[in-house]
């Protein structure tokens, strides 16, 4: 079942609720095929690593593309695979290789935003197009109209604008728990943080984003009057 489907099941798609599920992760381990492949690479058959890249680069690409600007995706996917190769000895085979790689990808993106926050890259302001998009979205009369709105470029830009205003920690947790729909435990495993830390962060991140959106709505309402 995909994470989106799990999200629907848990009823967290419609609102912006926090999934505090501590359910243990489903027992899954690396398949015999991928374990064999990893073992061969570890034993010195370096060229077999190309098979792992072929198999998982789009999976890693999707994770990274959701988290960083489009022009940095390739570079970070590259970094994820190099890190995976260097740390291959740490792959325990108790989880699927795909999950292990996802953890590296998430942490690499988190490091990217941490480095970026130190550089203090200025965040652009909302434009009139974004304001119009908010107005049109809120006045959508049908589901179809609403969905059409969400597919627009302005929606992604507004999301990027909001996420850029969060701390790298809040951003990482919010993306995993609220947007991707992972459980708190899954997010903690991927980030390598404690369960309590992720719970607290998830709560704070959600609150911070809601405050940001509330402020934006209030500001636009003020401008309109």
């Amino acid at each position: 079942m995909s994470h989106a489907a799990v999200l629907v099941d848990r009823g967290i798609i419609p609102g912006f609720h926090l999934s505090m599920a501590n359910d243990p992760l489903p027992v899954m381990s690396a398949s015999a095929e991928e374990s064999g492949l990893v073992r061969r690479v570890r034993e010195g058959e370096t060229e077999r690593f190309a098979d792992l890249i072929d198999q998982y680069q789009n999976h890693v690409g999707r994770i990274v593309a959701r988290r960083v600007p489009a022009d940095r995706v390739r570079e970070l996917v590259h970094e994820v695979f190099v890190k995976a190769y260097v740390n291959l000895a740490q792959f325990s085979e108790s989880v699927p290789f795909e999950h292990w790689l996802a953890g590296i990808a998430v942490r690499t993106c988190y490091d990217f935003w941490r480095a970026r926050s130190r550089e203090e890259v200025p965040v652009s302001a909302l434009s009139d197009e974004h304001t119009r998009w908010i107005e049109q979205t809120l006045s959508s009369h049908s589901d179809r109209q609403f969905r059409d709105q969400t597919a627009r470029q302005e929606a992604r830009e507004l999301l990027g604008w909001a996420l850029a205003r969060l701390s790298p920690e809040n951003r990482a947790v919010l993306t995993l728990v609220h947007l991707d729909g992972y459980s708190v435990r899954e997010a903690a495993d991927m980030l390598g943080w404690s369960l309590v830390n992720v719970k607290v962060r998830a709560h704070r991140a959600r609150k911070a984003l809601r405050e940001l959106l509330r402020h934006t709505l209030a500001e636009k309402a003020h401008d309109a009057t």
Binding site: V77, I134, L138, R152, A221
Partner: protein
């Protein structure tokens, strides 16, 4: 006028989540195989230089070099501390001068 109550907030949040999902469905494929394998090969070559035999070899040479340096330094220090000075002792020179008459009478 724009509503800014909780309903609006929830709608906006939902729209952004949907936008996030839509974005993840259209992410273009990436191909990093060539670049990653170039780095992997380089890393593997560097690793292969560090076989147990190479490490032992390096260890022996380093230990020998450090020991030789320590022995050399100790020898130089010992020699410089204990070797009698080649310069004339000023006390002896003074005594010698005193014992010799200034003008031969």
């Amino acid at each position: 006028m724009m509503r800014h109550d909780d309903d609006s907030l929830n709608s906006l949040a939902r729209a952004l989540i949907e936008a996030y999902r839509a974005q993840s469905q259209v992410s273009p494929p990436v191909d990093v195989r060539w670049d990653v394998m170039r780095d992997v090969r380089r890393s593997a070559t560097e690793r292969s230089r560090w076989t147990p035999a190479t490490v032992l070899d390096q260890l022996v040479w380093r230990t020998a070099t450090i020991t030789a340096a320590v022995v050399l330094t100790a020898s130089v220090l010992t020699v410089s501390l204990w070797r009698p000075s080649l310069a004339p002792n000023p006390v002896l020179v003074a005594e010698e001068l005193e014992s010799v008459p200034l003008f031969d009478e």
